[in-house]
């Protein structure tokens, strides 16, 4: 497999880096045979990103790489990246990876008498690159070199010369450089961006007392890329970029229907949910959201489909006990290998890590149905922006796989009302189901409505439902109540309601948005 990405419309050719998510935001990868500056503050993961670029070149494409280190000595780098499963020493033995060690020596740089250049450095890099037939070269970091050599015009000339030599040989180059500020000048002296064709910024910022890593492609000379900051994280496999709005365009829309696990609800949805659709279930506490999730999973089980539940609120035992109260045997479904319950504490890790971990579990278990109970639990611990990014990324991942998703969201007030969750993600979901309490003459009733269903006819009426030992039973529409969704419902006279029935049936089934 070759990393070269097809070059169309005369745009600059790119090479896939192999860093998860990066090639999505870079629309193919890094411009091939060009120099990219990777700039960031201390601790922004420049070295890890660079090392991953070389490691992925070797593991995914069999392309050799050279790591020129001006800062850490090669032993430290070998040890530090071992945690990501990268055996650099073995790659060195196999002639795939070569270090050029320019890390500081104890005695310091030699004194200068007269004119000099970086001819030796260039010769060493070229020598190493030829030895491993390098397609990728990393220089980490320029800032450390600039501490040794202070003549800026010399540095500018020499970096330009080194860049040109590497580019002429068709090698794709990363320079790293340390910034003092996440939102200030790109580099201290402006030399690196003069030499580089492309600029990638890595950030490690504090948002609402939490550390957040982002990257931004500031420019790709003559090549398209996504704009703005995207989050990324460091996992046990290295850098993972959370590509937002990713692959949206390539997703195919399924016309295949699946059973929700509740026959009456399928009827309301004109035959069930779509195979690759994302359904949001909104309701106050106790309205039956977890029940709906449970029946959705049971529906998957009876169709012999693998189901995955991410539970953020209740423990596994609790969930199994609840399900059995409704006549559903989660334990058996698990034994049959058709159900997996994953309990996670929302507080346990930042958004990016939740996302990566959930993605790994989905990848590994290959479910056809995924439920998240509840999204609100995540919303409480993420920043608003992170929450929205999470939903975008997670839903597009499910859609890409053609997996059905059912998410729950808890409304803060018992009667009526929407939640912050819905406000921010309603446009990202295909269908929305509302569960609401209705108080009638001192009695609490439950109502269900399909608020929206993209690409399908659906029942527009609010129906009453009850819960017993067999689960949810959806009954007739409320005919004598108005204003349930606002929470300020009133009862209308029987005559008035009766006159409306014919109209409700007519208008109840109309083409969805």
């Amino acid at each position: 497999m070759n990393s070269m990405v097809n070059n169309h419309d005369g745009a600059v050719a790119k090479i896939a880096t192999g860093i998860p998510g990066f090639d999505v935001i870079a629309e193919g990868g890094l411009p091939a045979g060009r120099v990219t500056l990777v700039a960031g503050t201390a601790g922004s993961a420049k070295t890890i990103f660079s090392a991953h670029f070389l490691a992925a070149g070797i593991t995914a494409f069999g392309e050799g790489g050279v790591f020129v280190t001006f800062e850490d000595n090669p032993d430290d780098i070998r040890r530090n990246v071992r945690a990501f499963g990268w055996d650099v020493a073995a790659w060195e033995d196999a002639g795939k990876w070569a270090f050029v060690d320019v890390s500081p020596e104890q005695e310091g740089p030699p004194p200068v008498v007269g004119q000099f250049d970086l001819g030796a450095l260039l010769a060493r890099i070229e020598h190493a690159a030829q030895r491993v037939n390098a397609k990728r070269v990393v220089l980490d970091s320029m800032s450390a070199l600039f501490m040794t050599l202070t003549d800026r015009s010399l540095l500018r000339t020499e970096l330009y010369r080194i860049s040109m030599a590497l580019k002429r040989a068709g090698r794709t180059v990363l320079f790293t450089s340390e910034r003092t500020d996440d939102y200030g000048d790109i580099t201290r002296f402006g030399i690196e961006e003069f030499v580089a064709d492309n600029v990638l910024l890595l950030r490690n910022i504090l948002v609402e007392e939490k550390r957040r890593r982002t990257m931004e492609i500031l420019k790709f000379r003559g090549a398209p890329h996504q704009r703005g900051e995207v989050p990324f994280t460091i996992t046990a496999e290295g850098v993972v970029v959370i590509a937002l709005t990713a692959q949206e365009l390539t997703q195919k829309s399924s016309r295949v229907r699946i059973r929700s696990g509740i026959d009456e609800l399928d009827a309301m949805c004109h035959g069930g949910f779509f195979r690759d659709s994302i359904v949001l279930v909104s309701g106050a506490t106790g309205t039956g959201k977890t029940l709906l999730v449970t029946q959705f999973l049971a529906g998957g089980f009876s169709a012999n489909e693998k189901c995955l539940l991410f539970a953020f609120e209740e423990s596994r035992d609790q969930l199994i006990r609840n399900a059995s109260a409704w006549g559903i045997d989660f334990a058996r479904m698990e034994r049959d290998g058709l159900l997996r319950i994953v309990n996670q504490y929302p507080h346990a890790m930042p958004m990016e890590d939740h996302l990566v971990r959930m993605g790994e579990i989905v990848e590994q278990f290959q479910p056809l149905r995924v439920a998240v109970d509840s999204l609100s639990a995540l919303e409480r611990v993420f920043s608003l922006r992170a929450f929205r990014e999470f939903v975008i990324s997670f839903t597009s991942m499910l859609k890409r796989r053609g997996t059905a998703g059912l998410f729950t969201s808890t409304t803060p007030s018992l009667l009526g009302g929407g939640s912050v969750t819905e406000k921010h993600i309603s446009t990202l979901t295909d269908s929305i189901i509302l569960l609401r309490y209705v108080e009638r003459f001192g009695e609490m009733l439950r109502s269900i409505a399909v608020l929206k269903m993209r690409g399908s006819l659906h029942d527009k009426r609010l129906r009453e439902f009850t819960i017993d030992g067999d689960g949810m039973h959806i009954g007739d529409p409320f005919r004598d109540v108005s204003g349930i969704l606002s929470g300020l419902h009133t009862f209308v006279g029987p005559n008035e309601a009766a006159g409306d029935v014919a109209g409700a049936v007519e208008s109840g089934m109309k083409e969805g948005a």
Binding site: V100, D101, V102, E105, P109, P110, P111, V112, V113, G114, Q115, F116, D117, L118, G119, A120, L121, L122, A123, R124, E126, H127, A128, T148, L149
Partner: protein, 108 residues
């Protein structure tokens, strides 16, 4: 008296230099010429010089961890010392390598 002993000790020592250059450039030639002049004028010709072109022998540059060219390495007598540049100023080169010249001693 002290000077005489020092002078006699120095008289038996020989200097070993390695000079790293990058190709046959004006800068390379100047460095070689400047070093040879220094060797004759200040070290009484008691030196051995190996010139290494990093372009044809990059492995030696890698092994010696040379970054800049020209770089002069004084390997003997120990301790090894380095200086980089085209060696235009002989006095500064001598200082950088921790050497005292015959010429300076004679004038004392």
């Amino acid at each position: 008296m002290v000077h005489a002993i020092r002078h006699s000790l120095r008289a038996v020592s020989r200097y070993t230099f390695r000079l790293f250059i990058a190709g046959d450039s004006l800068r390379s030639r100047q460095a070689v010429a400047n070093l040879k002049r220094l060797g004759e004028e200040r070290l009484g010709g008691r030196y051995d010089l190996t010139v290494i072109d990093v372009i044809s022998d990059p492995a030696s540059a890698e092994a010696a961890r040379v970054l800049t060219t020209p770089t002069l390495v004084k390997e003997a007598p120990t301790p090894a010392r380095r200086v980089t540049g085209d060696l235009t100023d002989a006095v500064l080169v001598m200082m950088a390598l921790g050497l005292e010249s015959d010429h300076d001693l004679r004038t004392e």
